[in-house]
Every structure is written in structure tokens, then in C-alpha cells.
């Protein structure tokens, strides 16, 4: 399979790999996918008092396109408000990374990971309200 330049760049120089403290109330964590399906993504956001995502981290078990999709997702959510981050669509990721049809599920998983992280953060807020 021929990879796009952008996928190769994210694979070779992944942005924001790592972990944020998942018990921190300002951190939302999303884990999506399943090992038996061949991809698992963990995406975390750290949200400031102003509702803006200050930082993001990811770890991904998956193919190069899955790694690139989640790396790109962390880049994109940083600096966005929660509402803005919720508007990121998998099709945007497909377009940016030039993903072939067989890799579209990687972008879907990245969108799911963003939503799961947002939902986790919202749940924490509600619990602490």
C-alpha cells in the first residue's frame, strides 16, 4: 500500500504521543476500538477554565493510518473550544491525510476518540458540579 506523505510524516513524527493524568478533573479520556479488530485509540484532552482545550495526547495500537489519524486529531483539538472540537468530522481527516477507502475506518475511530474524550470530560464536570 502506498502511504501519503502526510501519513508517513505523522507516523515518523507523531505529534502529542503520551498520557495525561486520567484522574485529573480537567482531563477527558477516550478509549475506542478493540484489540481483536486491530486498532485501539486512546485520546486525552486537558481543558482550561475557559473551556478551551489546552493540551491533548494520544496512544494508538493500529496501522500507520490509525496512528496518523489520531496524531492529527490531537493537533486539531488543541486550542479549540469543546463545541468546536465536537465539530471535527472523520471526512476532514480523510481529506487531510489522503486516506484510501480501505483506511476510512481509521478516521472514523479518531472522530469517535475525540467524542469519547469530550464525553468523559463532560461526565466528570457533571459529577463535580
Amino acid at each position: 500500500m502506498a502511504y501519503s506523505e502526510k501519513v508517513l510524516d505523522h507516523y515518523n513524527n507523531p505529534r502529542n504521543v503520551g498520557a495525561l493524568p486520567k484522574d485529573d478533573p480537567s482531563v477527558g479520556t477516550g478509549v475506542v476500538g478493540a484489540p481483536e479488530c486491530g486498532d485501539v485509540m486512546k485520546l486525552q484532552i486537558k481543558v482550561g477554565a475557559n473551556g478551551v482545550i489546552e493540551d491533548a495526547r494520544f496512544k494508538t495500537f493500529g496501522c500507520g493510518s490509525a496512528i496518523a489519524s489520531s496524531s492529527l486529531a490531537t493537533e486539531w483539538v488543541k486550542g479549540k473550544t469543546l463545541a468546536e472540537a465536537a465539530l471535527i468530522r472523520n471526512t476532514d481527516i480523510v481529506q487531510e491525510l489522503n486516506l484510501p477507502p480501505i483506511k476510512i475506518h481509521c478516521s472514523v475511530l479518531a472522530e469517535d476518540a475525540i467524542r469519547a474524550a469530550l464525553a468523559d470530560f463532560a461526565a466528570k464536570q457533571e459529577k463535580n458540579a
Partner: protein, 407 residues
């Protein structure tokens, strides 16, 4: 370390043509270019002589008692189809049942599926966790209606060697024909159709340092005389079993490739075994959580299939892109399903996604093995650092207890 890149270590897929083979083949394009069927003139007779010589070389490589038992085809896929469909169609009156194994090559499996659409029945035997056929299960599956047992010699994904002689004995006892797909086996393991009781055997040049597009089917002529229905009709070449003008240069090359094997097999086997051992012990000494797929010792010498837990296979291939190997990961196939062979062994889908097949061959060197170890260790380590599964395992989480959101 000075290693020439890229490194080819995918010798299950195909092999480089040995330069000695190329040299033998070349004159048959523009100097000795007759049609081997043109027996009335010198051009044709020279071509026929070359083909006859190759046929002897091929027969010798598999222990066949006569060169008349070699039917030239375009490759193992055609030989598989000819053997299975040819026997089934010829023996339809005798029985309608066939036996094969679920880890066979697709050419064998799909030939059976095609026959099932015509009304034949097939038993697809399961394999043990080491990839080998259970002989008791094979014997139990045999019925009075069984006309053919098709079991490969060496598996193309995991390299395990099936107990051919024992299978041959069971078939003989029940008067059932035994067909063996030996595409991955000729030149890799000792093969002898007489000693192993093999009635039909498929092999191909490009897996044994010969060119692509040429193969053969061994068809036993004595004890018993195997009869087949042809698939390709025409000028009656290959004693009516496979019509079509013989590809003389390719056949000469195939014969020479077989000759090199016959002469050098013991030495080559020892060398490949040493390289494989070096690779496996090198990986094991530096990486935890890696698993060998398939039987540890009953395997072809250059073959190593390893699961690197918590690292997806395709992402690993991407990281070692200067080394040509292949993966059982779904992401490397069009189907999004991981390898059916690994699944048949009972390997978890999760580990199947992390498997890499190393195929060491005649032209690989120790330096290449050392380079491969170093690069695989580096990339696996890097990818594990970014693997959420590795992180969970380090935290002591049992991945089986996690409620995954499959998609």
C-alpha cells in the same frame, strides 16, 4: 554495519532467480527457440531435448521414479486446480467426498469450493494449535466415498511441515489418492513421493529460485496409476493432461533450479536453520511478549512467523520499510480479516494482527539478519511506547477484562 538496502526477506512470497538459472535459460530465447513439439526438425528436437533433461531434473528433486510423471503447468495454482478438479471429475463414479485442511492455500481451498458447487462434499480438517493435522481426525474423516486427500507439505504463512509419510500411509491403507501442494516445500525440506506415498504433488519454480510462470504437477504412474481429467484442451501436450506449447526457456530454468537444490540441499538447509535460529534468539533476547506461531521445530528451515504483542503488524512493517517481510495483520489484506491460518491455530485475533512472517532464503546473510533484529527491536519498542495496550499491560490491567468498543 554495511548492509545493502533494501533487504529481501519475503522468500515465501517469491524468490530471486538464481543467476546460474538465468544463465542456463537465456540461450533458449533466441538461439534454441524451437517448439518442443516440432519433432521433424533440428530446432524442435533441440528444444525437446532440453525439456526432457529438465523433466529428469524435476523428477529427481522430488524422488519420482520416472520423468514421465512430471506434467508441466504454469505454476502451483494451476497444478492445485488440475490435481483436485482432475481427480474429482475422473473419479466421480467412485465417490463424491474429498478431504483437505482449513490452513491450505487458497488455490486448494477454492478448488474444493468450486467442486462443492458441482455437488461434491469436502471435509475441511481443523489443525492443532501447532498448525499440524491430527492424524486420528484425518483417519476418522475418511469414508468409502472419499476419493482424494489434499494436504500441503509446508504452510505458506507459518512454515509448519505436515507429517506427510504418515498421511501417505493412511491414504494408501484406505485406497484414497493423496495430493500434496509442495509449493513451499521443494528445496526446503526432504521430499520423496515414493517414500511418502504421495500420488500427486504440485510445485512451482519461483519459490525455489526459478522464474515465475512455470510449475509442475507430479502424477503417479504406478501403484496406483493416477488418472485425471484435463482442464486445458488442445494439442494434447503433456500426454493430454495439459495442452499448450511448452515454455522451453522457463522449463529449462525450472530444471536447473531443481538441479541446484538436489546438489546443495543439505548445506543450504543447515545454513538457513542457523540464520533462522540467529533471528529468533536475537529477537527473543531483546523483546518480551513475542510468540512463535506454529510448531517450534517441525517447520521449514527459513520460516519464522512471530507475533509481537501490542504492536499492530502493518505499523511495524511501515517502520521497517527497508526490510521486505509480510504480516498476517488484517490491514495488509483487502478483507479486514486477520490471517485465516493463524485463526485456525487458535491464535487470538489480537495476536494475529501483530504477526510478521520472515522468509529467509538462499541469498540472505548473517549481516542482514543482525540488521533486521536491530531494526525490529527498535521499531517494536517505539511502537509499544505509543501503544495504549502496552500502557495498560504495564499498569497491570488484564486486557481481557476491558470492555472494548469494537467497531
Amino acid at each position: 554495519m554495511t548492509v545493502k538496502l533494501p533487504i529481501y526477506m519475503d522468500n515465501h512470497a517469491t524468490t530471486r532467480v538464481d543467476p546460474r538459472v538465468v544463465e542456463k535459460m537465456l540461450p533458449y530465447f533466441s538461439e534454441i527457440y524451437g517448439n518442443a513439439a516440432s519433432k521433424t526438425h533440428a530446432f524442435g528436437r533441440a528444444a525437446e531435448e532440453a525439456v526432457d533433461k529438465a523433466r529428469v531434473q524435476l523428477a529427481k528433486a522430488i524422488g519420482a521414479s520416472s520423468d514421465k510423471e512430471i506434467v508441466i503447468t504454469s505454476g502451483a495454482t494451476e497444478s492445485d486446480n488440475l490435481a483436485i478438479k482432475g481427480v474429482a471429475h475422473m473419479h466421480r463414479e467412485k465417490g463424491d467426498h474429498l478431504i483437505t485442511v482449513c490452513t491450505e492455500h487458497k488455490a486448494v481451498l477454492d478448488s474444493h469450493h468450486a467442486l462443492e458447487r458441482e455437488g461434491f462434499r469436502t471435509t475441511f480438517l481443523k489443525v492443532k494449535p501447532d498448525g499440524l493435522v491430527d492424524l486420528a481426525e484425518l483417519e476418522a474423516a475418511m469414508t468409502d466415498q472419499t476419493i482424494l486427500v489434499s494436504i500441503m507439505a509446508v504452510n505458506n504463512e507459518i512454515g509448519v511441515v505436515q507429517p506427510l509419510a504418515e498421511i501417505g500411509k493412511l491414504c494408501k491403507k484406505r485406497g484414497i489418492l493423496f495430493f500434496c501442494d509442495a509449493a513451499q516445500a521443494v528445496g526446503k525440506i526432504e521430499l520423496n513421493v515414493e517414500e511418502m506415498g504421495i500420488d500427486l504433488l504440485a510445485f512451482t519454480a519461483h519459490k525455489m529460485y526459478g522464474p515465475k510462470g512455470i510449475g509442475a504437477l507430479y502424477v503417479r504412474r504406478k501403484n496406483p496409476r493416477v488418472r485425471l481429467e484435463a482442464m486445458m484442451h488442445g494439442g494434447g501436450h503433456e500426454r493430454g493432461l495439459r495442452s499448450g506449447t511448452l515454455a522451453v526457456p522457463l522449463i529449462v530454468a525450472f530444471g536447473e533450479a531443481a538441479e541446484l537444490i538436489t546438489v546443495n540441499q543439505a548445506e543450504e538447509t543447515a545454513r538457513l536453520l542457523a540464520l533462522r535460529e540467529r533471528l529468533w534468539s536475537g529477537l527473543q533476547s531483546q523483546l518480551q511478549h513475542i510468540f512463535l506461531n506454529g510448531h517450534a521445530t517441525q517447520r521449514a528451515p527459513g520460516s519464522l512467523n512471530v507475533s509481537f504483542a501490542y504492536v499492530e503488524g502493518e505499523s511495524l512493517l511501515m517502520g521497517i520499510s527497508e526490510i521486505a517481510v509480510s504480516s498476517g495483520s488484517a490491514c495488509t489484506s483487502a478483507s479486514l480479516e486477520p490471517s485465516y491460518v493463524l485463526k485456525a491455530l487458535g491464535v487470538d485475533d489480537e495476536l494475529a494482527h501483530t504477526s510478521i512472517r520472515f522468509g529467509i532464503g538462499r541469498f540472505n546473510t548473517e549481516e542482514e539478519i543482525d540488521y533486521t533484529i536491530e531494526r525490529v527491536v527498535d521499531v517494536v519498542t517505539r511502537l509499544r511506547e505509543m501503544s495504549p495496550l502496552w500502557e495498560m499491560v504495564q499498569e497491570g490491567i488484564d486486557l481481557r477484562t476491558v470492555n472494548w468498543t469494537g467497531h
